[in-house]
Symmetry: C2
């Protein structure tokens, strides 16, 4: 009779039953559930922290890149001022200096990933050229760049500014 | 008798027992654990995705800021070239143009968050000034900027370059 009564006892004394009976399993599962809930909550907290950290990091990277890019231009300004410092003495010497500064500025842009381009005679490319005029020149290949009004900067998807060009008329 | 046997049946037919008996609780807990594990795994997957997305976003923001900053300088280069285009005709007119370009470059830096400073007579500030010399001038306040050799750019923790200065001697 005692063994037949045993199944009735576990609900009353859950802590003392062997591990194979249903109730300790429930206990273990409660513990497992608690642990899993803990893991889930920690993952959620990690997500939250990651988002906050990332927002700060974006701001930092933005400021850093702005400073880096601006710093690349400082020598251009320095040299421009150096050239102008002698403007009273010899204007033509100053102009030579200023031309060197212009070349330096083009180099800075190349260094930042925006090489200058101003080729004529190349096929018109809508991703790199902005048409500002069309000419009918019999000796030019149709639909090629006849004249560059202002140079373009950039390459391969890193386009800073397209070249403004006059193109030769398409073949009719 | 039938009612006294009832507690014995649940282990054999777990699906049909009332929710208060031990075994269905275990079943429910298994389901709850499964669901919690699911949530946890989804949170981990979210974390992973967020990390990947952030890495890409950082790259994008960096490129975007580089382009934005570089683009701010293009008009400076354009005007420099425009000024030089007339260098054959009137050198002194060209110089006026180049001076305007210099001012424009200073304005670009200010616009990017790096105002220029070159004040003399201000107290020496190690966060903004780099000492390149010391002078002993009886009429100047001790430890102030006597001369600016090259201007500084930036303000309030956004220092692009300190000013290079000559300071007046400290009081002994």
């Amino acid at each position: 009779m005692a063994t037949e009564q045993e199944p009735m006892t576990p609900p009353e004394q859950p802590g003392e039953t062997p591990s194979s009976s249903p109730v300790p399993e429930a206990d273990e599962q409660t513990a497992a559930l608690d642990e899993m809930r803990d893991r889930w909550r920690r993952a959620l907290a990690d997500l939250d922290n990651l988002r906050k950290r990332h927002a700060k990091e974006l701001e930092r990277v933005r400021a850093e890149e702005r400073a880096r890019t601006s710093a690349a231009w400082l020598p251009v300004l320095d040299n421009l001022e150096r050239a102008l410092a002698h403007s009273d003495s010899d204007p033509s010497a100053v102009l030579k200096g200023v031309e060197a500064v212009r070349d330096q500025a083009v180099e800075v842009l190349r260094g930042l990933g925006y090489p200058r381009y101003e080729e004529t005679g190349v096929p018109f490319d809508p991703t790199r050229h902005e048409v500002v005029g069309v000419v009918d020149t019999p000796d030019a290949e149709p639909n090629t760049v006849a004249q560059v009004v202002s140079p373009g900067y950039g390459a391969d998807g890193k386009q800073l500014r397209p070249a403004f060009v006059v193109v030769s008329k398409r073949q009719e």
